[in-house]
């Protein structure tokens, strides 16, 4: 027997922490870590909803597997883009778009 309030609380906390990670970080890879935490919270939510019962098509488990797959595809593409940006401008600071010439100079120097 398990109370479902606990898993729901952990999922909500994970999604909140992921939001903080996305908003408070400037390094693009660390932003991605925040997104991973949010997806993990979504998976926990699905599993908990499936654990209540009346899960006719095993939707909780199967959809969590799908979310994990989509997260893997997403992280591959995001990291490819991040590395491409790093090669082009020499920095993965997501707030740096405003001053283009400085990043061009940094790319030339590196």
């Amino acid at each position: 027997m398990i109370h479902l309030a606990l898993p729901y609380a952990v999922a909500a906390a994970l999604i909140g922490i992921g939001t903080y990670g996305v908003l408070a970080r400037r390094n693009a890879v660390l932003v991605l870590i925040g997104i991973e935490l949010m997806l993990a919270g979504a998976g926990l939510l699905l599993i908990t909803a499936g654990a209540i019962g009346q899960d006719r098509w095993q939707a909780g488990n199967v959809l969590t597997l799908f979310v994990i797959t989509i997260a893997a595809a997403e992280v591959v593409l995001a990291l490819a883009v991040i590395i491409a940006v790093f090669r082009a401008r020499g920095s993965i600071d997501i707030t740096e778009a405003a001053h283009e010439p400085a990043s061009e100079a940094a790319a030339g120097a590196s």
Binding site: M1, I2, L4, A5, L6, P7, Y8, A9, V10, A11, A12, A13, L14, I15, G16, I17, G18, T19, Y20, G21, L23, A24, R26, N27, V29, L30, L32, I33, G34, E36, L37, A40, G43, L44, L45, I47, A51, I52, W57, Q58, N61, V62, T64, L65, F66, I68, T69, I70, A72, A73, E74, V75, L77, L79, A80, I82, I83, A84, R87, A88
Partner: protein, 172 residues
């Protein structure tokens, strides 16, 4: 408070604490390593809730592949060893982000806690043959679409990294 509640409390506490450290630490590589601990704790949560196959797949995909990719990306973008003040945000920025994150959590809690109800539910471990039957029965078309998605992601990642390697040489 049942035994399963205590088990979930332990794994959930590990997950939350490691997730908090992953988003707040100033060491870039430590952040990825705390993510490993957080996702491992989450796999423990799945086990406690009775989803054994999902827990195993989660460990395989996240700890085995995603975090390794993140660490590779940190190395290829020349992440410094030790604390890095280079990408630090201001205190006001972090406070605003914390307020927004707490707000999101509070909203979700306000919706979800009434759904949970007072009564504990029995743990129903899910057989992997059940999941396989549904996955290749009811869910077979989404499953095929996802395999296509993975192929597209593979080709896309390859193309993006190839194009980026070729682009800077053209203007010079």
């Amino acid at each position: 408070m049942t035994g399963l509640d205590l088990a979930f409390l332990a794994t959930g506490a590990v997950t939350i604490a490691a997730a908090l450290l992953a988003v707040t630490t100033r060491h870039l590589v430590h952040s990825a390593l705390w993510l490993v601990l957080s996702l491992g704790g989450l796999a423990g949560c799945y086990l406690v809730l009775g989803a054994e196959l999902v827990a195993l797949v989660h460990v395989l995909v996240y700890v085995g592949a995603v975090v390794v990719l993140v660490i590779f990306a940190l190395m290829m973008t020349r992440a410094p060893i030790g604390p890095s003040p280079l990408h630090a945000t201001s205190r006001l920025h972090r406070a605003l982000a914390a307020v927004l994150g707490a707000g999101v959590s509070t909203l979700l809690l306000a919706v979800l806690i009434p759904l949970a109800g007072e009564q504990p539910v029995p743990r129903r471990p899910v057989d992997s043959t059940q999941i396989a039957g549904e996955l290749f029965g009811t869910w077979v078309w989404p499953f095929e679409a996802l395999s296509l998605l993975l192929l597209i992601a593979l080709i896309g990642a390859f193309t993006v990294s190839r194009l980026a390697g070729a682009a800077p040489q053209e203007p010079r």
